[in-house]
Structures are given as C-alpha cells and as structure tokens.
Point group: D3
Chain length 273, copies 6
Amino acid sequence: MLIREIETFLEEDWGWTEGLIESLSGVRTKAVILVNEKGVVAGVEEAKAIFEYLGVDVRVLKEDGSDVAKGDVVIELEGDSAGILKGERVALNILGRMSGIATTTKKCVDMLASSKIKVSCTRKTTPGFRKFEKKAVRIGGGYPHRFSLSDAVLIKDNHLKLMNIEDAVNIAKRVAGPMMKVEVEVESCEECLRAVNAGADVIMFDNMNIEEIRRCIDMLKQKGLRGKVLLEASGNLTPENIRQYAELDLDFVSVGYIIHSSGFLDFSLEIIR
Amino acid sequence: MLIREIETFLEEDWGWTEGLIESLSGVRTKAVILVNEKGVVAGVEEAKAIFEYLGVDVRVLKEDGSDVAKGDVVIELEGDSAGILKGERVALNILGRMSGIATTTKKCVDMLASSKIKVSCTRKTTPGFRKFEKKAVRIGGGYPHRFSLSDAVLIKDNHLKLMNIEDAVNIAKRVAGPMMKVEVEVESCEECLRAVNAGADVIMFDNMNIEEIRRCIDMLKQKGLRGKVLLEASGNLTPENIRQYAELDLDFVSVGYIIHSSGFLDFSLEIIR
Amino acid sequence: MLIREIETFLEEDWGWTEGLIESLSGVRTKAVILVNEKGVVAGVEEAKAIFEYLGVDVRVLKEDGSDVAKGDVVIELEGDSAGILKGERVALNILGRMSGIATTTKKCVDMLASSKIKVSCTRKTTPGFRKFEKKAVRIGGGYPHRFSLSDAVLIKDNHLKLMNIEDAVNIAKRVAGPMMKVEVEVESCEECLRAVNAGADVIMFDNMNIEEIRRCIDMLKQKGLRGKVLLEASGNLTPENIRQYAELDLDFVSVGYIIHSSGFLDFSLEIIR
Amino acid sequence: MLIREIETFLEEDWGWTEGLIESLSGVRTKAVILVNEKGVVAGVEEAKAIFEYLGVDVRVLKEDGSDVAKGDVVIELEGDSAGILKGERVALNILGRMSGIATTTKKCVDMLASSKIKVSCTRKTTPGFRKFEKKAVRIGGGYPHRFSLSDAVLIKDNHLKLMNIEDAVNIAKRVAGPMMKVEVEVESCEECLRAVNAGADVIMFDNMNIEEIRRCIDMLKQKGLRGKVLLEASGNLTPENIRQYAELDLDFVSVGYIIHSSGFLDFSLEIIR
Amino acid sequence: MLIREIETFLEEDWGWTEGLIESLSGVRTKAVILVNEKGVVAGVEEAKAIFEYLGVDVRVLKEDGSDVAKGDVVIELEGDSAGILKGERVALNILGRMSGIATTTKKCVDMLASSKIKVSCTRKTTPGFRKFEKKAVRIGGGYPHRFSLSDAVLIKDNHLKLMNIEDAVNIAKRVAGPMMKVEVEVESCEECLRAVNAGADVIMFDNMNIEEIRRCIDMLKQKGLRGKVLLEASGNLTPENIRQYAELDLDFVSVGYIIHSSGFLDFSLEIIR
Amino acid sequence: MLIREIETFLEEDWGWTEGLIESLSGVRTKAVILVNEKGVVAGVEEAKAIFEYLGVDVRVLKEDGSDVAKGDVVIELEGDSAGILKGERVALNILGRMSGIATTTKKCVDMLASSKIKVSCTRKTTPGFRKFEKKAVRIGGGYPHRFSLSDAVLIKDNHLKLMNIEDAVNIAKRVAGPMMKVEVEVESCEECLRAVNAGADVIMFDNMNIEEIRRCIDMLKQKGLRGKVLLEASGNLTPENIRQYAELDLDFVSVGYIIHSSGFLDFSLEIIR
C-alpha cells in the first residue's frame, strides 16, 4: 500500500482538522481490533500500513486469508492514543469492506470445491477502490478476471451489435497480441462455435441456463474443440445458486455478486488501555 | 462532479489503453441505460458528467431520487460508439452503488414515515468513495451525519476510556466553538444525564435496547431536559428492525447498514444503434 | 501534516533542482529559528514536520500558542547543512504566516477578554492554505467558523435575493439535518425576528452598527427568544474597533481581518555551526 | 490558470457538498463584482477562469493592472445562480489577495518613480500560492526576483558561514552555468568588493543603511566596477521608508513587505438579478 | 489523452509563468508542424489534444501511423499566437519521442515481414512515459508485451534463483488465473522442456543464439509440443541483427531497443502567419 | 527525489498488483546492479531512494558521475527478495536513461576540452521526465540551459515573425527583470548586431555554419562588443561534429542530441543470494 493511498483515505476521513482527537493525544494506549462475526479476514496488510504511518506499533494475530470467529482479536495496537484514534475508522472500513468480499468469495469457492471450477469477479466494483476489492477476492480464494480494459480483450454483446463475431475476434487478436487473451461473450451454441472457430481463447456463456451451457460443452467435445478454449459461465450467480454449476465442465465462473453485493464484515476497535 | 474525479475513475477502469474499444470508434451510436430492478435511482448526475466528458450527448429520463421499476430507461445516450463504450462500466458502477444505497435508505425512511425521526448514515463507508455514498443517502431521503472528523465532535466510548464525560464535553465544546455541535455516545441513563448536564447538543443512545432508550427519554422529560438536546439511536439498525424505533421520541437514528450493507442496484447499458 | 503537503510546499520552493544547496551538503550543522518581534507563535508543528522529513533533528523550545518576545529561539535544528537550508524558506514562511494570524487573533481575543464573546474567522483565506490559516486562528484563541460550504449552512444576503427568509431557512434546515447548524445573515431587527421564528440556530448581524445590534438583542430578550439562538456580529471588525462589541450580549464575532489582513510575523534561521 | 488549480481551490471551499447552494440552482442570474476601496486590480484573469469553469458568462470591465476606485464594477456575471454562488468566495479571495499585493507593489513603484530603481519581491510567500503572489507583483509593476531555488543562485549569509565568498562564488558559477545569474548578499564594503572581484553578477546590500550602501557604490565607481554588476538593496523596506532609496545608484530593491504584509483588497459580489 | 496528462506536461514546460509568450498573445496566427526526416509519425492524437486544450484549431494532415518524408506537413494550426507558442515544445517533444519509437519499430517489423513473427517491446521505458512509448510501438506495427507486473506473469532468471522452474510455474499459474498468461525465460533446451511440461503458456529464449533456439524448437516439434506454447526470442535484438530471426519458427521477438535506444524524430513548428 | 515521484514510477511499473513477486517475498536476498558497457553513471541517487523506500539496504559503489567499465558493480543490495524485485525495473530504467544521457554529455564535453566552451542541453526532453534528464546532463559535465519558459527569456525565430528584434528585446527585458537573462536566436551577423545593440545578454547562433559564426564573432570584437554578451551556438550538434566548434570564441553550445538521441546505458540486476 503506497503512502499516497493511505494519505488519501485519511484525508477523506479527517477533513481539515482532527478535532477532538488532537486533545486526546499524549496518552500511551493499547487497543485491539476485534471481529464481531464469522468470516475470512482481508485488509490486514492495509490496516497495518495505516497504523504504522501514524506511528503506532502493530502486532498482527490473524493474517490476510485467515478464517475468523466472532470475538477473535485480529490486530493488537500500542502507541499514542491520538494515533490509534486517527487511524481507527479508515482501518475498520478497509477491513470491513475487504473482509466482507473475501468472506463471500470463500463461500462461493467452497460451493464449487468438488469441481475444478475457479471463481472470479468482474469489473463491477466501487469506483476508486477496485484494487482493494480485487485483492480481497484473491484473498478469499478467487481470481480477479480483468482489472481494466487493458488486461485482456473481452468481446461483449454490445460490441457484437457493431460488428460480427469473426471480425471482432480478428480485430481483437490484433489488439491483444501474443501476451493477452481474447474472450467472447456468447448467448447460444451457434455463437459459441463461431467464436471458437474464429480463434477465441476463452468463451463466456453469458446468462445462459445450465442446460444450454451443457449442450454447448457437449457440442465442443463432439467436435474435438473443448481443449482449445477455456470456458466461463457468467450472469447473476450468487452463493445460493452457484452449486449447480459444479457439475459442468467449466474452467471458471465469474460472480459480480462477490464484490457488488457483499456487505462489510463487522469489526470494532477497543481501547484496553 | 469535478473533472479530476471523472478522470480518476476512468483511468482505473481503462488501464493504459482502451484496447478493443478504440477499434470500435467512428460509429454514430444510440444507447440506453436501463434499470433491471425496482428502486430509487442515484448517480444520474455523475453518469451524465462522465458521458459528457467523453463527448456523448445525454438525455436524462429519470432524475436522481426517482422511483424506478424494472425495465425503466434512466438515460438515453447518443454519440461515437467508442465514447459510449469507454464510459459504460464506470457510469454503471456509480449508478449501481449509489442507487443501491438510495434504495436501502428510502426503505428505512419509509419504515419511520409515521414518526418525525430522521434517518442518517455513519462514517462506515468505502474509502475514497464516501462523498458519493453520503450523497446517495441524501438522495434516498436520509441525512449524512458527520462527513469527517472535522464536521462535528462526537465523543465515543473509546474517548471515554481516556477521560470522563464532563471533561470530554468541556474540551469538545472548546474544540467545536459556536458553529459545530457536540454529541456524546451514552450507554445508560446515568451517562445520558451527565452528558446533557455537561452541555452536549446531541445524545446518541449507543447499542441500547428500546426499553432502555425509552427510560432515558422519560427521565429527560421528567427533568425538563428533553428540549435541550437532540436524541439519536444507533447500533445495528437494519430495514428489518428499524420500525420499532418509530414509537420513540427520537430526533434521528443512524444506520450504518444503508451504506455498508447495500448491494448495487442492477443497471445495464444497451446499444440500440 | 501529511507528507504530500510537505512535498507540495518544498517542490514549489525548490523548483527542479536545489542548486547551490546541494554543493553545501555534507556538513553537520546546528541552527536556530529566532523570532524577531513580539507575538504568538504558530506553525511550529508544521516546521518540525518539514525538517524531520529532510532528516534534520528538531528541538522545539516554544510550542504552538506560546507568547514570544523578540530574540526568542523557537526551534533548534541539527543535521546536514543541506537539509537545514532546503527546509529554511518553507518553514519560515509557514511560521511567519501562521504566527502573524495567531498574533492578530490573540489581540482581538484580548480585547474581548472582559466579555464571553468568542472571536472567529471567515472563509476569506488564501486559496490552498485555508487549513493552516484556520488552524492558526485556533492557536491564537479564536474559532474557525465554517471551513467550507459543507460544514454549516449560512444564508447570506445574496441568497435572500433569490428567496425569502422563511423559505430559505426551511430549505436550509432540510439540507443541514440534525448535525449541522443553520445561520442567517440579517440587516435589521425585523429580519432578525423572522429568521429566529423560522428556526435559525444562529443569527449574524451583518454590517449593523452597535446601536442597531443592541436594539435587536433587546427585542429578542423581550420576546423571550434570546436563549433560542446564538448571536454573531460581523462586518469590518478590526483589532482597533473590536473592543466596543464587548458590552453587547453576543456569543461571538467574526473577524475576516485576522486572516485577510495579518502580515507575517518575522522569523529568521541562523546557522550557529 | 490550469483546470487542476481551479479544482483544487473550489474543492477546498466547497467541502464534500455544496449544501444550500444546490437548492438555489436553476435561476438565471446577473451579478457584479465590485471593489470597495481604491487600488490596483489583479486576479481578474483567474476569477474569469473560475466562473467560466462553472459555466457562467463573464464580462471583464477592469483588466488586470487597472487602477480602480471604490464602487467600480470589475466583472459582470450572468448564468445559473448556483454557478455564481459556487465560484463567489474563491474568486473574491483570489481577487482580494492578488489585488492587495498589486496595490502595495504599485505604491512602492510610485515612490521610486523618480529613479530607475526597480521593485522586486522575495520568496517570502504563502506556501502553495506563490505563483499567484509573484504574478500580482508583476501586475503591480514590480519584478518577481527568484521564483524558486532553481532560478538563480543567491549566496546568503548562512551559506557564508559554511564557506568563504570566493569559494562560494566559484561553486555558484559552476552550478549556475551561462544562463543563470549569481548574486551575493553582502554586509560591508569589503564583502562587496570581494564578491564583485570573485565574479558575482548581482550584489545584494543586506540590511545595510543608506550611508553604508552609498559608500559601497562610491567605492565600486572609484574602482571602475559599477558597470560590472547589478546592485540590489534589501532588508525591511516598506512603502513608508522606501523613498529614501531613490537617490541611490541602485538597480533594484527587494521588498518582502509587498507580499508578506499586504492585506486583501476588499471586493464583493452582488446579485442584481 | 486525459486533461491531467496534458496539464502535467505543460506545467513542466512552462514553469510558473509563460514569460515572454504572454506578451505575444492577441495575434491570430497560422502555423504548421513539419517533419524534418523520413519516418513513421506517432503522437498526432496527443499533439492535437494539447493544442485543442489551448484553444487552437487543429487540422491533421498525417494520421498516427502514416509514413512521412522530410518536409511533410503533419499538422496545421490556427489560433492565438500565445496558444500556439505555449503548446509548441510539449507537442514537438511528444511527436519526436513517439515518432522516433514508431519509426524504429516499423524498421524491425519490416525486417521480419517475410515471416509471421511479431515484434514487441519490453518494460525498458522512460519512467512516467511508458503509456505513450508502448502506444508508439503499437502505431509502428509492434506489440506492447506486458505493460506492468500485473498484466501477465513472467518468470525471469532472478526468480529462478529463488525457486525451481516447476514450483515457479505452479505458483505463477495460481497467481495468473484463467485470464492471464504465464511465460518463462529459459536459457537452454532442458529448461525449455521443463517449462513447457510444467504448463507455461509462453517460452522466452533469453539471450540464446540462433542455433540454440533452433535446436529447442526442433526438440519441441519432435515431442509434439510446439503447438502448446508460444515462443519468443529476446536479448539485444536491434534493427541490424533482427533479420536473422526471420527463418526461425517463433511467434514473436521482444526488442527493448525500439524504446530504449530510439532517438527523437525531428519535427519543427513554423509560424506562417 | 520526493516520495511522490518514487511512488508514481513504481505504480506505473507494478499496475494494481505485484503478481508473482509477492509470492517470492520472505527470502533475505543479496543482489548487485552491474553496468554492461563503458560510460558515465547517473541515477544512482534515485535508484538508492527507490530501494530504500522499499526497505532494502543499499551500498553505493559508484557515485553519480563516476566513469564505469563493463562489469562494474554500481550498487549492492540486501533485503527481502520482494523488495529487490519490485524496485528492479524502475531503478534500472532510471539508471539506464540517466546514464545514457550523462555518457553522451561527457563525450561532447571531452570533445571541447581544449576550449572553454561549455555544453548545454535544450528543452527537447521526454515529457514528465525533464528534471531527471537535465540532472543527468549536469552529472555528465554539461549545463541545463533553461528548464522551463520561466527561467530565462529566449527570443526565437517564431517570435521574430510576430515582432522585430528591438521590440522583442525591449519587451523581453521588461519580462525578465534584473534576475533573468534575455537571449536572442539570430541567423545572420546583421541580426546579431541588432540584438546586441538592443541589449540582449546572450546571443544564440541558430543553425549557422562555422564560417558565419566566426564572422559574427569577429564583427563583435571589432566593434568592442564581444565582452558585452555571452555567445552560444546551436543547431544539430552531435558528438561527431561538435569538435569543430572548439576553435571558435564561444561561451557555450547547446546540444539537443545529448537528451533526445541518447539510448539507455545497459545495466542489469543480479541476485547473488
């Protein structure tokens, strides 16, 4: 975590003065950060960096990725009371947001544990905070998919309203070059076949039901094409409905839910003097 | 919305090149932004600013704060295909996040509609995006409470481990001066009385149950002190449990949930040529 | 003081190279910062942060808020000559500007010492440096008033050209919510009464003379409304004319002068080897 | 004025929401910016850029550098009321600060009008706002002297505690190269002579009295060295004492006072509907 | 090109004042940008954005990627003389640097035109300007390879000093997930085989001579592994020695030279009134 | 080197995650930075700052400005493997770019060693990296000339299409004031004489051949004007053709080539465990 990121977040939370807190400085204080519900913890590295920036000593008891239970102490702090209080809210917000995402991700990963299917997120993230949200997915056992438009080429339905699949894949491969993959969103077996034949590296079954996806995969197998592409399913997956995908021969699923619908995991900071 | 905010969000989403999208430029295109579920829309002003920055014409059909139903068109766009596709993800993410918050806020507000109790949020927000989250609360009919440590002085339990209520209020009033309010978190009627006597402007009943709160308010009334302070209840309120507060003589409640546990409202952008 | 603030100020003062100073590095040097005239010192915390960023050891002899006399040593420095010389101008400028403001503030505060009237500043500040100027007012014993448009709602004469007092207060209270105050600028007893009746928390007597203000206050007392509002006087107050307000039953005065017309207090840095 | 500068200043003044002002938008409004005291106006270009950024039409009646009298209209505005009110405080602060400096500068320039002596400022400026303060000096008829450490090499008393004049000038000339000047602060005729002989381009008489300076200049003339250097006097010059320098054969004086001790010139914005 | 990038570059070139140029404003002026040597032009889009930011009308005669000859007019400008002169140096520097790179890239691409081997660059770029340098490579017909450490996983010799090939590929594939490729730098046929068997997507022959590379490729073919990986050669390729690679069955070569050793293509701006 | 500069460069090189490198952390590692060809080293101070920011211990064996031979170890590193690998590319890029420039500069300086003519660079630099490129010139024994438009006034051919020499020098001297120099680009002896008579401090012979320049200098000498100005030659100088200028009575030459046509000096980082 860069100093400029820490400062941006602290500045947002402090405003132009730290008000009352300044009046509380000068007392050597001990405090703990507790988690108030079961989950997977993420954001510990960030919380640590924030308190260290503020001159507070930090002892991490639960590393990023640890399973935690209600009441677990995640971090112990010792330092000037003002330092602890000035970092409190930002550190808890990062822990809460990142751990919430890691916890949901882990739930999805666990639902697919019987298969080899990986769980990834999407670009549906909070503007300005994507880096931390994608990292939380990774901590929860998932994969980040594309970070930005520059990481891989994904041909989506809106693009296919502007050109056909074959042209799109051709252009995309020219844009992508040898180091990036080209993926195509398809909505039918016919589109799937055209995309594979055009040279796509990855196929995304977009909002197709389990049966349709199975039919497509079977078709690819019959034509000996299954080994030429990676297969992804996408579209309104949730921890509740994800298990049914486990039986399909997919490489991964993408689940916007794990970022866009995760609440904060509940943490609190307690001064114990 | 400042240009620098727009650029920060676009830069995060684009990476160093806009990849395939550049190859799709040059086509005059029409598109719509649809909402895929019922809710309260927020972030329209921001979405408009983003597309205008990209040279796309924008027609707003649903202003911030409008109730929307599944399938409603919120915004119509017309311009170069590249401009539309380059703004798509960021605009949808802002709309999704802000509308999700506005929708939850509205639910809570409606639950208390029979009373005069206002709904406010807390500082439990996504780092770097607080400004937009607080604005969404306002659009949903709620209040922002403190934006940062500099807006008002809030004496919390952790502060009261470092000094007693009377000293804390005294110092806080010196810090606050005539233009800012001083609020004290209390956990009992005794603390409540001490805080009011010390001169607090606002009392927050922190994680106290309905009965305890009622007792405190009755006590204040008996002593003729109710009119001297504003009263707030806080602590794990949700759209599910909030209605029970309606019968209390409170001025407002703060509900961290409306920001920290709201998912995105579901929007999509469709090119209609 | 955040590292980014320190760097912004140093970068402005250094340009692209530190020129001659680099050639002077490598000599272990002692230096003192002296004040060359009587006043109240402010900016010491900032000066300390700057020299520490540059690797120079700092010993503070006069904390922020101290009364100083000509010739007093405020700070002792020890470190590489280049570090001391590279921080010199920025540190002195911050000390000069902030101490100048603290000194003028203190003068005004002293003039009103016989009363309970507080002294506050306004938003008439140097663009980009407000945070430090408002802090200097506080160090001098004054109050910051609103930092920005977001801190409190102040209904000014220009707003009242666009709507009437009652509507303005109504809207303002909706904007302000429970945690912010609403203040109205008035120019007559009639406006004052209307604003109080509409529910204003604070009344500002704007450019009214002593007699008029006294009449308004008497009126409020007769009507039993004095206790319902805070009262502020504003408009061309200076250290020269401020004493006459002491006899009024005001809560505070705002004095743009303490920021917009304070010169720098004179400091210098002397190398003593 | 770059967009990022405008945004930085507006952001400081607005905070996270523009509060009441948003509620006042939608009314086509005319307004004027008036000056309330005699002076030289500066900052008009900046005020214009700010209002144009906010979509307000601007008509400049008094260009930068104009002499103005109390009551003069400097700028006429027309546009949405919110745009005008959102730019008001920042525009007035820039006009006030810059015009205050231009006015004081002009006073000093006028005092030396009988001579060929130029007036310059120093690096004693408000951190972060130097660019605008130096520009104001220029608008008032003065010169900016060094902007930063990188613009010219100035050998000061503190440097001369670390090495002797001859070595310092030698090193300085190596640092400066052919495109920058080397100046030496001297406190006696002997130091002045040594500096000139060492090759200084400019001599600064630092805190020397009129008689001493005159003696130095006479000495230089006798030795035929006057034509080889530019001569500057510095040290506590003010509009009150500057006239006495007019009789000396100096090239310029530097007057920190014009920046560090100028108050704001008084402007106001009036909505005239 | 974002406004903040334009402003950063202009600010660097202007310093705190635009000096003489301001005195030259007010004259409606025509100018042309000429190229003074044969090459491939790049940076036109950026130059256009800069002048448009400055209010100058721009007519592009040679789009990015065009072959140009000495004396060709690339851009015609019309607007205020100050706008043209203020953008001149930055626009020419971007054109010069980007076109220099595009020209060298094109040379390398032409050398391999008889083969299907693509030309890519590396991360050996000028800090802060990589985005534009990589774009210039693309304009010249090359490929950007990894932009940053986040785009693909490249296992280099230094990594292989810390762990063996098999472990490294295993970890890398876990880091990379389904959307990113894993590449391994190898220095022998044995390493190549191990990397392919471990599951690498791309093999980089690092500083191996033509004969060794050929042997490796033959080995892969014999084992039926050629179709499973992409093959890249790297290490001190230049426009002079690159042609010899054309005969190899490679997918691409990476040529740090095209960025780190390209000079500026020579452009000039001429006012023609 | 400021922390913000380090962070900007690292952020560009890392993207949003440090990928594989994170998996390599935790191993105490030694490494060296080697130079792979003869030259003058520059950028060592910057490389040191980068690794220290990353918590790596740095021992500098070759200071900035040292002559180095192929195989020389410039810097020794010791610390966590992740810290070393995360700083590697940025540090090498800075060393490569700056040392390439310093090496070319030194070549030019050596070519003129028999004369007193100094070598300077121009504003033909990589946007955003000028500060480091100009510093490299200084390390190589050259001079930076103007950093930006604000450092000195240079009247160029394009300006002289808008006004005549005499007017331009007059205005320029007013802009420049006593602390800045005024230089005029001339293309003939007649222009040279006019510029000197108008009061220019420096004359630049722009793209004039050796014979013409000699004639101009002779003319100035005959008229007794040589001592009144500094003389500079400019226009397509290279290490190959620069020696011929040694015989002229010039003060300096400016050589855009040393920045715009220098390749990177070749460095590598090797882990030695």
